[in-house]
């Protein structure tokens, strides 16, 4: 593994990028990039539309968002194209991706790259071997996807209803027992539902180090035993007695807004502030994270191996890393998702832009968010989802 990483690093250094960049820009002019991204969030959709306006004005590259209900749809599309022998001129130019979808595409050679480390704006990233932007669910990125936005697992709640939110995942059991029917999580076939379980897994697992390695059967059984004990105790007290679950986090947010449940989940610390601004949650909505911190990862963009507008996609990926873009994205009035750039690599002027961004009472400080816990190796999530299905889908 280490050898592989060193080799990849060597490759990255061996391609002198900047001279090529002008060629990329020239080829990209006039292209339309079909960006496949989950379309369930209106603010993200609006941000992507803004990106398209900017890149069209600056580089002559248009962006069309292909709004997905599930990222895996784009993966399936690329697989269909490969099945049909369409190895160039593919319909998916760029995918908002991470975790198992990324691992699956990378392993099957469905991704273009490495390209990410050659982007001019990659200089603002911390790409050290263990840095967040270089590892996706413990799998080395190796330049096959480019960082875009920071994701931190948080809970949303209405502070006018819930006075004392649970302090950790164990606390959710007490809460559910005191207030039956008020706790739920998204369906586990959904990424956020799986993340809810992973957060508990990380909190309860006796051996943290094992989670960073591919999951063996023995290690898995040992690690999940306390998780299932906790879940079995809580399930009868969950919403609809744990027999059914909201389809995804947006549906759960709607349940929170309707007052059917007391907590929502999100991968975006600004989600409560954003939802208030959109009128989707009451003004008293807030976020919290378990006291020991919460799982965090970075959302990436990747380019399929057969993308028709590869150069345009690289230009867009690079634009996303521009400090001005990242600051715009972090603006609570726009998207409110935290920057992926390494503050140490920014100039004073660039840092000042971030410092001057507006704030909101529903927006947590970085201190409130506590430490970022590492995502377990991607195999844990696959196994966890399958095992949950075995146990609880009847």
């Amino acid at each position: 593994m280490r050898l592989l990483m060193i080799a990849a690093l060597g490759l990255g250094l061996a391609t002198p990028a900047l001279a090529d960049w002008q060629t990329t820009l020239d080829k990209a002019r006039g292209q339309t990039v079909y960006w496949n991204a989950w379309g369930g969030d209106a603010r993200t959709n609006a941000f992507i539309a803004w990106v398209g306006e900017q890149t069209e004005a600056k580089y002559g590259v248009k962006v069309e968002q292909v709004k997905l209900t599930d990222t895996a749809t784009a993966v399936t599309q690329v697989i269909s194209e490969k099945a049909a022998g369409k190895d160039s001129g593919g319909s998916v130019d760029m995918i908002w991706i991470n975790g198992p979808n990324f691992v699956s595409m990378k392993e099957q050679g469905l991704l273009h790259g490495p390209f990410a480390n050659d982007l001019p704006n990659a200089k603002y990233l911390d790409l050290g071997p263990d840095a967040a932007a270089a590892v996706d669910f413990t799998v080395p990125v190796e330049g096959y996807e480019s960082a875009w936005r920071l994701a931190r697992f948080v809970f949303t709640y209405d502070s006018a209803v819930v006075m004392d939110p649970p302090r950790d995942m164990a606390g959710f059991l007490d809460y559910a027992q005191n207030f039956p029917g008020r706790v739920t999580h998204p369906d586990v076939s959904n990424f956020m539902g799986a993340t809810f379980l992973k957060q508990a897994l990380v909190e309860f697992a006796p051996d943290q180090a094992a989670l960073q390695l591919p999951a063996t059967d023995a290690a898995f059984e040992a690690a999940v035993a306390p998780l299932w004990a906790w879940y079995d105790a809580m399930r009868p007290f969950m919403w609809r007695e744990g027999q059914t679950f909201p389809e995804n986090q947006s549906v759960q947010q709607q349940l929170l807004n309707d007052g059917e449940v007391d907590f929502g989940v999100s991968f975006d610390p600004a989600s409560a502030a954003g939802a208030i601004a959109e009128g989707l949650l009451p003004d008293t909505a807030r976020v919290f994270v378990p006291r020991g911190g919460s799982i965090g990862n970075i959302s990436f963009v990747a380019i399929p191996y057969n993308a028709a507008n590869r150069e345009g996609a690289e230009v867009v990926a690079n634009f996303l890393l521009d400090p001005a873009t990242q600051a715009h994205q972090q603006n609570i009035e726009v998207l409110g998702s935290f920057s992926v750039l390494d503050p140490a690599k920014l100039s004073d002027a660039e840092r000042a832009v971030f410092a001057a961004l507006p704030s909101s009472p529903a927006l947590p400080n970085l201190e409130d968010l506590g430490p970022t816990l590492l995502e377990p190796h991607a195999s844990w999530m696959t196994k966890l989802v399958a095992a949950w299905g075995e146990r609880y889908i009847k």
Binding site: T69, I79, P100, D258
Partner: protein, 567 residues
């Protein structure tokens, strides 16, 4: 006569190449993957492993059972309710009034109706809000599974709201071909109650005429996706939804068992139709015995009233569901237990540029193209039959309706691979072609009977005056058939607007129509935006039906004899 044959051969070729071939090819691709061959993910060996894996997938058995219960249950119920309502209302309500009453339910796409219904029925939904906290004492919604319930009841209700009006429509036009009044009079004179005359005399004669639509309803209910996502159970969901989930799981290996399940879905539909045909035999046998017993059945009357009130209740639910979407589209904050929004906003409607404007445009362009092409093909087919002076062979009938009877999920994935191979996927053309598979049969259903019912005297008169076949078609038949042509076009357009899976698969996600956007957004949390899309989505077919009523009225404004023709 020669050009009649050329026309027929042309239409048959278009249908074979355009309809049968894609479906067969799509199934072939799906079948390959179902038996282990999908080189793109490195699977190259024929095996039964995908089937074993499918059987072992958690919840597989429950999904299958849910599919059977909701599919068969809703179809049987819809038939019974529609028959009861028809028995009760026939003769008490004019055909035209009935048509106007049914129109909103036929025009509203499944997804839009389901979204509205989900909001209506939820424990925090509109009904609960209207009676809370006053009557119920709830200041927070109770934890009741009124939608997404484990038995699929909410899904059955949703299906009924769409299927009962459809069956009423086809029953209405079938009844037009029978001397109902005489039967009723004769039956009453012999002392039979009204309901019993219906069940014993009229229904057995109507049934053969509506058999095909019943099979279509059955096939649809067994394989519906969008409604099942929104109203059905989720853990596990019905088989069709589970298949979509497996097709789009991060673990690409699941595509193989998903393909096997897609084939199975087709088998389930075939078996269900087979079982239905067997049940028909039993019903015939029992029915004959029951007829001969000669009971006058006055006790059946309350049953009719019960069916009538259930149908009225379903229609009220459907209407409220659609109204709730309109209200949401103008809402800003609307929380439990307020009966109406606390604050209003036009924001949802104010952003056509980045939002609904383009989806609306794509929907209209695709809908018009699909409808026109289907109409031309249908007219060519019917005219071909006329010139050959023969009725429709059974195989031809089966061919036309094939796309409605085989589950979409069974061949769409394979069809996408095929379209990619010939290089037309991801564009409007692919979407238009794929939608035509499903629009053409409905246009044929709508057009066939009026076409055959055309008074042949006029044609003979035209021929005697020296008009050739083309002139008879253009100058006599088509103008006389403007009204049914418009109705067929409106139905075709409405079907096109509602297509979800074909647009999603063939458009590679790039072709965004109101329906794909509405279903995508329904996975988000903003009911207000969903409301805007759903209102537009339901509104477009409304306009089409409105045009179908107005255009003939304008064209025939000085042809009184044609204004009264019922369709």
């Amino acid at each position: 006569m020669k050009d009649g044959r050329a026309l027929r051969i042309g239409v048959a070729l278009a249908l074979m190449g355009g309809v049968v071939l894609p479906i067969v090819a799509g199934f072939a691709q799906t079948a390959r993957a179902a038996f282990g061959v999908l080189p793109a993910i490195g699977a190259v060996e024929w095996s039964l492993a995908p089937w074993h894996r499918l059987m072992d997938l958690p919840g597989f058995g429950t999904s299958l059972r849910l599919t059977l219960v909701t599919g068969l249950g809703s179809t049987v119920l819809a038939l019974a309710l529609a028959a009861g309502f028809c028995a009760l209302m026939h003769g008490r309500m004019s055909h035209g009034a009935m048509g106007r009453l049914l129109m909103p339910y036929l025009a509203a796409p499944h997804a839009a109706l389901a979204i509205g219904l989900a909001f209506l029925l939820a424990p925090s939904g509109w009904i609960a809000r209207m009676v809370s906290p006053g009557l119920t004492g709830w200041d927070r919604p109770p934890d009741l599974a009124t939608v997404n319930d484990g038995w699929g009841l909410a899904l059955i209700v949703g299906l009924l709201i769409k299927e009962v009006p459809f069956l009423l429509l086809v029953m209405g036009s079938a009844l037009g071909q029978l001397p109902v009044r005489q039967y009723l009079a004769a039956g009453r004179a012999l002392g039979y109650a009204r309901g019993v005359v219906w069940v014993k005399v009229i229904l057995p004669q109507v049934y053969p005429l509506i058999r095909l639509p019943i099979f279509i309803v059955l096939a649809f209910a067994l394989s519906v996706v969008d409604m099942a996502i929104i109203l059905g159970p989720s853990n596990p969901p019905t088989l069709a939804v589970a298949i979509i989930r497996w097709f789009s799981a991060p673990d690409t290996g699941l595509i193989l068992p998903a393909s096997a399940a897609a084939l199975l879905q087709a088998v389930v539909v075939a078996l269900a139709i087979g079982a239905w045909i067997l049940a028909e035999g039993v019903a015939r046998w029992v029915g004959r015995w029951w007829l001969r017993r000669g009971g006058r059945g006055h006790r059946a009357e309350p049953g009719l009233w019960a069916a009538g009130s259930v149908v009225a209740g379903l229609m009220a639910l459907g209407a409220l569901a659609l109204v709730s979407l309109v209200v949401w589209s103008f809402a800003w904050r609307w929380s439990f237990p307020q009966a109406l929004p606390q604050s209003w906003s036009l924001k949802g409607w104010m952003t056509p540029g980045s939002g609904w404007g383009r989806a609306l445009q794509a929907t209209v362009v695709i809908g018009v193209a699909v409808t026109l092409a289907s109409l031309v093909l249908a007219v060519a087919w019917l005219e071909g039959e006329d010139r050959a002076r023969r009725g429709r062979a059974g195989w031809a009938q089966a061919l036309i309706y094939l796309p409605l009877l085989v589950p979409q999920i069974g061949f769409l994935y394979g069809l996408n691979v095929l379209f990619l191979t010939i290089g037309i996927s991801g564009g409007m053309l692919a979407v238009i072609w794929a939608q035509m598979l499903f629009v053409f049969p409905y246009v044929m259903i709508a057009l066939s009977d009026p076409w055959r019912a055309l008074d042949r005297q006029h044609l003979r008169a035209a021929a005697a005056l020296g008009a050739g076949p083309w002139r008879r078609l253009v100058a006599v038949k088509l103008p006389m058939l403007v009204r049914p042509l418009m109705v067929a076009a409106a139905i075709g357009f409405a079907v096109s607007v509602a297509q979800y899976l074909p647009t999603l698969f063939m458009g590679a996600g790039r072709v965004a129509t109101l329906t794909t956007e509405a279903v995508t957004l329904a996975s988000g949390s903003d009911r207000r935006v969903v409301g805007v899309y759903a209102v537009l989505q339901a509104g477009l077919p409304f306009l089409a039906y409105g045009a179908a009523l107005l255009v003939p009225a304008f064209v025939y404004r000085n042809r009184r004899g044609l204004l009264g023709v019922a369709v």
